[in-house]
């Protein structure tokens, strides 16, 4: 099942921030992790992922570095900034509250 675009707009950034929480990752890695860890629910095409990464970067939530040492082509690694960590904490609280509320009113089974 794929999530509708409007829902994905809210969930996508939080998911990316969460995936970057353990450490830095490059684009393709994020795509695969999203697909695998969400069982394809949060899978997003590259046309969505990279603009999303650039937006998070513009907001200062993530930072990028280019690594030319690993392999034949340079890789761009993204990592969470301090601001991004705080944002992830807020997102987490909000998603928990939302999930609880949806559960309470029966949208999600308790």
């Amino acid at each position: 099942m794929r999530v509708e675009r409007e829902l994905m707009r809210g969930a996508g950034p939080a998911a990316i921030l969460r995936l970057l929480e353990p450490g830095e990752r490059y684009g393709y890695e994020l795509v695969r992790l999203l697909e695998r860890q969400s069982n394809g629910v949060l899978a997003m095409g590259q046309s969505t992922l990279y603009p999303l990464l650039y937006n998070l970067q513009a907001k200062g939530l993530i930072a990028a570095r280019i690594d030319r040492t690993q392999g034949p082509r340079p890789r761009k690694y993204y990592r969470l900034t301090d601001k991004g960590k705080r944002q992830l904490a807020r997102d987490r609280q909000q998603w928990e509250a939302l999930s609880a509320a949806m559960s309470k009113i029966g949208v999600i089974p308790a």
């Binding site: 046309s47 513009a58 761009k76």
Partner: protein, 610 residues
């Protein structure tokens, strides 16, 4: 699959700083100095299947980003697809997973723009703002230059209606015109105030030019009689506007109408000859008095009074000022006759008739009607503004040209004209609309007219003048009310002119009553003016400065009627020594010591030194 050296470029530190987003800059991080400058080189060197490189190229082209940004995105996408292929995903599957390239390009562009530096965002904001202002101003200019005045009221036709309805035989102007032609009154020699003719008209018995004046009056008796006949007509009959009485090269040579607006030319041509008529009639009255010719004197007086009223029919404030001037000449002449030894030539009935001709006006508004000025302004505005539609009508290029012509603004050089043409559309924002201007102007005129109905000592002209002056100083308010500041005069001086005129008239009424009293009391004047009421005077005239009754004193058995003047101190009928009429001020900061002599001419009375 590495980049070729040609496709990689190391940018300078300055460009590196400029291109780094501000937040990164604040954190002390700069963008990668090693960037590929050509995304096509990256794609050519990447070794990916053609459909994938085509897709990446398509997306990158659509982003319309900077070269370095394109290279950055290309490098990342190439890396992404290479990783995918490396993990065994087929090219078809990768392409299918990518999504819509147009949408991708749009989103990438938007996100990359957000990543650009603050200086770039500031520059973009300034450029967009400037373009928006230019566009707005361009539309404003189109709107401004497409507007044209559309005069809808023919004020000239309205004002000419009663004139044209009067039979030609009852119009004075044809007769006055004949006098002007006979005496060449509009020739440079005769109309020169410092010329011999003008000086001769001011001659008094015993002066050097008096014989010449007497001879001239005898020589031009027929023209003076013509003046009397003209003054007897009920209508001045000066037809206004183009094709009217002013379009007469025979008497107004070299004075072509300016054609600024039809109303603009109304006042000018006729008033100088009318003033000369008054001076001729006054000179004739002086000669008649000197000869003791009662009938001739009274005839001249009667014509002067009628000329005063005829002048008021001419619709302009300047004409009303000229009328007040003629009134002053008449009062002056009558005052000299009453204070002379020839006063005995008047019968009791003559004195009564003269008094009846004097009474009437009580306040300044009886001498000045500002509606003429209102019509003049409304006519100007309808030639300056578009009709009152959207936004209440706006100023037009023709409006500015009209003001320049009316104010004799010098011809501008081409660069200045160009600058003016660029700046003028701003008037749509800065200068009030036609409706607003007319409303504001009418407010000023209504207030002034109301003040003219009040005695000057009570009228609050200071507030009115303050409000007017605020429109004449350099301020936004001045620009906003630009036409009003240009064309609205201060009417407080008009009120002073009227009050001075009426004060002299009050003095003459007292003088006539005193003369009547003297005749019936064995040559004795009364002890006070109270003795004159109500049989010879309905009431004692009010001192127009203090509000009390006018004062009266006998000096060498000659009566002096006076106001206390601006100092409100009774100086026993003694005027200021240098300028006797300086006492006729209202609420001045530095009042002159001395009284305002209403009768007789203060030159005949002793004066006080300030």
């Amino acid at each position: 699959m590495s980049h070729t050296p040609a496709s990689v470029h190391r940018i300078s530190r300055v460009r590196q700083i400029f291109r780094t987003p501000l937040l990164d800059l604040l954190r002390g991080r700069l963008i990668d100095p090693v960037i590929a400058i050509d995304f096509q080189s990256i794609l050519a060197a990447c070794g990916l299947p053609l459909p994938i490189t085509d897709l990446v190229a398509d997306v990158i082209r659509r982003t319309r980003l900077w070269r370095s940004e394109k290279s950055d995105v290309a490098s990342e996408l190439v890396s992404h697809f290479a990783e995918g292929l490396h993990t065994g995903v087929s090219p078809e599957e990768i392409l299918a997973n990518f999504g819509d390239p147009r949408r991708a390009a749009r989103l990438i562009r938007r996100a990359k723009l957000r990543n650009r530096s603050l200086s770039w965002h500031v520059c973009r904001f300034i450029c967009f703002s400037f373009l928006a202002i230019c566009l707005f101003y361009g539309l404003l200019a189109v709107y401004y230059y497409s507007g044209k005045p559309a005069p809808s009221v023919d004020y000239i036709a309205q004002l000419n209606q009663p004139i044209l309805a009067t039979p030609v035989k009852q119009r004075a102007w044809p007769l006055y015109r004949q006098v002007i032609l006979d005496l060449s009154l509009t020739s440079p020699a005769q109309s020169d105030y410092n010329g011999e003719f003008s000086r001769m008209l001011d001659a008094r018995p015993g002066s050097k030019r008096w014989p010449a004046l007497q001879a001239w009056l005898v020589q031009h008796r027929a023209d003076i009689d013509l003046l009397h006949r003209a003054a007897d007509q009920p209508q001045l009959g000066f037809v206004l506007g183009p094709g009217g009485s002013a379009d007469d090269p025979a008497i107004f040579p070299g004075q072509p109408l300016s054609r600024v607006t039809p109303m603009y030319d109304v006042a000018m041509p006729i008033l100088n000859p009318i003033r000369e008529f008054a001076r001729i009639l006054s000179a004739d009255a002086e000669a008649a008095c000197d000869l003791g010719d009662r009938v001739r004197f009274l005839r001249d007086m009667c014509s002067l009074f009628q000329l005063t009223n005829q002048t008021l029919q001419h619709p302009s404030l300047v004409a009303q000022l000229v009328s007040a001037g003629i009134r002053a000449i008449t009062y002056d002449q009558l005052g000299r006759a009453l204070s002379s030894s020839h006063v005995s030539m008047f019968t009791d009935i003559d004195l009564r008739d003269l008094a009846h001709q004097l009474i009437g006006p009580q306040v300044a508004a009886d001498l000045f009607d500002l509606n003429d000025e209102r019509i003049f302004f409304h006519d100007i505005i309808q030639h300056m503004y578009t009709i009152s539609s959207l936004g209440g009508g706006h100023l037009t290029p023709q409006g500015f040209q009209l003001v320049n012509r009316m104010t004799s603004f010098p011809q501008q050089a081409v660069p200045l004209r160009t600058l003016a043409a660029v700046v003028e559309p701003a008037s749509l924002i800065l200068i009030a609309s036609r409706d607003q201007i007319l409303h504001r102007y009418d407010h000023f005129i209504d207030q002034a007219q109301s003040l003219l109905h009040q005695p000057l000592r009570q009228a609050d002209w200071a507030t009115w003048n303050q409000e007017l002056n605020s429109l004449k100083q350099i301020s936004l308010s001045t620009i906003h009310n630009y036409p009003i500041g240009n064309f609205l005069p201060s009417f407080s001086r008009t009120a002073v002119t009227a009050e001075r005129c009426l004060g002299l008239r009050d003095g003459l009424l007292c003088a006539i009553a005193l003369e009547s009293y003297r005749r019936h009391h064995d040559g004795h004047y009364p002890a006070s003016l109270d003795a004159l009421t109500p049989s010879l005077l309905p009431s004692i005239p009010v001192d127009r400065i203090t509000g009390g009754p006018v004062h009266y004193i006998l000096h060498d058995n000659h009566p002096i009627i006076y106001s206390l003047g601006d100092d409100h101190i009774d100086n026993q009928g003694t005027p200021p020594i240098k300028y006797p009429y300086n006492a006729a001020q209202w609420n001045s900061h530095n009042p002159s010591l001395g009284d305002w002599i209403l009768y007789p001419d203060p030159s005949d009375t002793p004066r006080i030194e300030n």
